[in-house]
């Protein structure tokens, strides 16, 4: 049995789930208090008025407390949460009495009962969920989602290295070193987030290998002036997309094509936008592309829940993939 871990109340997905659960409980309480079925709505309204400021205060406080309690035992965390919630509940109860004197709708016992029940259910649910998504299971899923490079690329690269062996042995050595770096990452343990800088270096090495094979046909434009080097990203988030761009956008044509990569930070998100020429070709190509995109989408969800997104679209003669990841620098 894995140990219980602290839920991350700063995560948008966790926040949304808590809001839904507590409001759901509010609806149930309204239904319970209402003598007639259609009347639940009128009972729910005052409860909702009580719930929303409580939720807001709770989530803000818990987001802060989580960092203070990081590393402490789970029991201490549960205790702190209950104390905090009861304090918030009581404070809001007296606050509302001040605002609307004479309103006898809510009583202290009812508030305490609701707060205790809601807190228990939320913590129980989050604990259950974190066990279901326990590191072991998440890691197993991430392992299964390991990005796989096309064998086509490996064998063509090896041929390219062989072609340099006699004419330019020093360059051949460098290419083999790049290839080794790339495969070290591809075959390595890719479950932990890595700094964006190291993903960028890997992508540049990869594109240099492709450049060797494709020569003038491949042009690459990096726009990384505003790239946050320290941002943490899932490893191999860009490389498979670049591989797709080469395979679908550059290789099918005899003409020069450009791959355009733009990485920047805007407030608390890191954006990665990748463009390549769109060649409307066979269905089999789209299949391979979809697989890589789904793989990345699933890894983003495992790491960032709903806070990360990936969209792809066709703009004129260009194919575009846009990824947004929350900007974090601590693991």
């Amino acid at each position: 049995m894995p140990p219980s871990t602290l839920p991350d109340f700063c995560n948008l997905g966790v926040m949304l789930r808590v809001i839904l659960i507590v409001n759901g409980l509010g609806v149930l309480a309204g239904v319970a208090r209402s003598p007639t079925w259609p009347g639940w709505w009128q009972e729910f309204l005052p409860i909702a008025v009580f719930i929303q400021p409580g939720l807001l205060a709770s989530l803000l406080l818990l987001c802060g407390v989580r960092q203070l309690l990081a590393g402490r035992p789970y029991r201490e965390f549960v205790f702190t949460v209950f104390v905090l919630e009861i304090l918030i509940g009581v404070a809001i109860f007296f606050g509302m009495q001040k605002l609307m004197p004479g309103d006898t709708f809510l009583s202290i016992p009812a508030v305490l009962a609701f707060v205790t029940l809601a807190t228990s259910i939320v913590l129980f649910y989050l604990n259950l969920r974190s066990r279901a998504w326990s590191p072991a299971i998440t890691e197993a899923r991430l392992q299964a989602l390991q990005a796989r490079i096309r064998p086509h690329f490996l064998f063509n690269s090896l041929t390219a290295v062989l072609s340099l062996m006699r004419a330019d042995p020093r360059r051949a050595e460098r290419v083999l070193e790049d290839l080794a770096d790339l495969f070290r990452v591809l075959m390595g343990d890719n479950r932990e987030l890595v700094p964006l800088q190291s993903e960028f270096v890997l992508c540049r090495q990869y594109l240099e290998l492709e450049q060797l094979r494709l020569g003038d046909r491949l042009k690459v434009a990096w726009h990384i002036d505003k790239m946050p080097d320290d941002a943490l990203v899932p490893p191999l988030i860009l490389q498979p997309l670049l591989e797709n761009a080469v395979y679908h956008g550059i290789e099918p044509s005899t003409e020069t094509g450009e791959i355009n990569i733009n990485i920047y930070r805007n407030r608390d998100h890191v954006y990665m936008v990748l463009r390549n020429p769109y060649r409307g070709d066979g269905a089999s190509h789209h299949q391979g592309n979809k697989m890589a995109l789904n793989n990345i989408r699933e890894r983003l969800a495992l790491h960032f829940d709903v806070e990360a997104s990936m969209k792809s679209r066709i703009v004129g003669s260009q194919y575009e993939v846009r990824i947004a990841i929350p900007y974090t620098t601590r693991r």
Partner: protein, 252 residues
Amino acid sequence: MDSPLKILVADDELPARNRLKEVLQDVSEAVNLSVVAEAGDGLKTIALLNDTAVDIVLLDIRMPGMDGIEVARHAQNLTRPPAVIFTTAFDAYAVRAFELDAVDYLLKPIRRERLQAALEKARARMGTVQPGLERLQQKARSHLSVSERGKILLVAVADILFLRAELKYITIKTARREYLLEESLTNLDQEFGLQFVRIHRSCLVARSAIRGFERVTDDAGDGHWAVMLEGIEEKLAVSRRQQHIIREIKGG
């Protein structure tokens, strides 16, 4: 002493061509050969085959524009077709197909011993037509080819207005001229069903070339539908059995 084997190397990647030429250089100690030409894409390969006498083509399968398998099919139209040896880095489907049809292929990176064995085998096959290439084709061809005065003439499928079966041949009609092709209309219909539509037992019309439909009355006073096409005056009759295509095309 035999005259040297004339070899054409076709691959879209320069390092791959260079490597292959190095290995051929090594093999030349044992086999009398000379590399007479090299090409970086399918159309260039066909152009070179038309102008240069070639005994053996070392042909990469995955090339931009026209892939290696289509090049090999068109090359069969030469009076003296070269023997083809395919090269591929990794293509599970093609490799399986090769094993079935015993067409020779080499996996990249290519070893000297394998190359030498393949060349010796190909020498015996020079000048003969290679069966089974159609079955290797994974997608519709980009061009049709006809043989004129021993050379290959490529007709881009995108330029074709209609294909009409006439006695022994099929007439290919483009805006500029007509060509005669020796293939079956049924097979063409299967291969190009997405781009062409059958308007008559003996006629396939390019969907993109259709300008409209017209009701015409022939000399006997019978009415029927005809297709009007971009770029030419000629109207083609739609048979009664195929009239449903008018609604399909107009509808979307």
